[in-house]
Symmetry: C2
Subunit: 199 residues, 2 copies
Amino acid sequence: MSKIKIDQRFSPYQMPCAIIGTIVEGNPNFMLCTWLSRVNRDPPIWMISINKRHYSMNGIKLNNHFSINFPSIELLMKMDYIGITSGKHKDKSSLFNLFYGETKVPMIMDCPLTIEVSVKDLIELSDHFIVLGTAINSFFDEKCQTSGVLDIKKMKPVIYTGVEKNQTYWSLGEKLGDAFKLGKDYKNPLKKKIKRLGN
Amino acid sequence: MSKIKIDQRFSPYQMPCAIIGTIVEGNPNFMLCTWLSRVNRDPPIWMISINKRHYSMNGIKLNNHFSINFPSIELLMKMDYIGITSGKHKDKSSLFNLFYGETKVPMIMDCPLTIEVSVKDLIELSDHFIVLGTAINSFFDEKCQTSGVLDIKKMKPVIYTGVEKNQTYWSLGEKLGDAFKLGKDYKNPLKKKIKRLGN
């Protein structure tokens, strides 16, 4: 294999797509976010990274709460609209059917998974803010269960990749295997030996 | 739609799978990481979140560098083995063909995308460390290009979801559309009106 160096500012990896819900100037507002992750197990802390210029930052700073809404494929068009439209210029408050938890942050009824988050800390970087927040409520859609268990396939989550001038949304593909089980053969030297002999 | 509250410690969303390369006690070591994200554009800063107990943390603290390696499906078994095996008990240094950039951190030849990272900051949470680092080099595999452009489909990235007792690896699915283009119809009220009339 031969390696090529690419511009370090590229990050051509598989990112989750989420819609961040905030209250800005008293009004529900929404932004697209692909730079986010869980960062602590208990308490359940999340981090989202937001460009400093984003309108949503005002709401997060003032209200100390936001929601993380994971849309399904059906919401793709609206999600992308949100990604190219600033709340400074367009009122996005009526795009979705909303529901509320313990706080005033708007949460999107049509998203199969929503996390209501209380801001814990802001870390200022050169062009982004890292926002750390604790999940105070998590909501999953009843329709996205199978036999009472959360079913990821029914969530139909959206994945984003940005490669040079090629920015793309993807669906989730096929199940490859069970995590933290597949690698057990490697752990067992005897099984490994038998496999080798079999080849 | 009806919402069910789930345990906030669950995070049943689509996470990227990466292998973190470190030097621990002079030896290459690897861990599986699904809690990671880009967090700043320029300079290109990444964050990874690592359980405090992980052996790799020692190497990150001492050597101030690590690598983020995005494996393809072919490496699934080894990646999972890494996820269930601590470097405290098993030497993982010979699992992969390695290459090196400007630092001593091991990078995995068979991974289509690798980022060499210099640690910028550590943020201590209750059970995890957030590690912030600046990308100093990014390597993409020549084979994963099409006509000189990075090709995500050829990367064959792995996605992880953890739902209750159901922890799963997935492939990337079908292309759904071009990001930051799909939503333009929503922006154009005339087009929207025509669409509505068409219904």
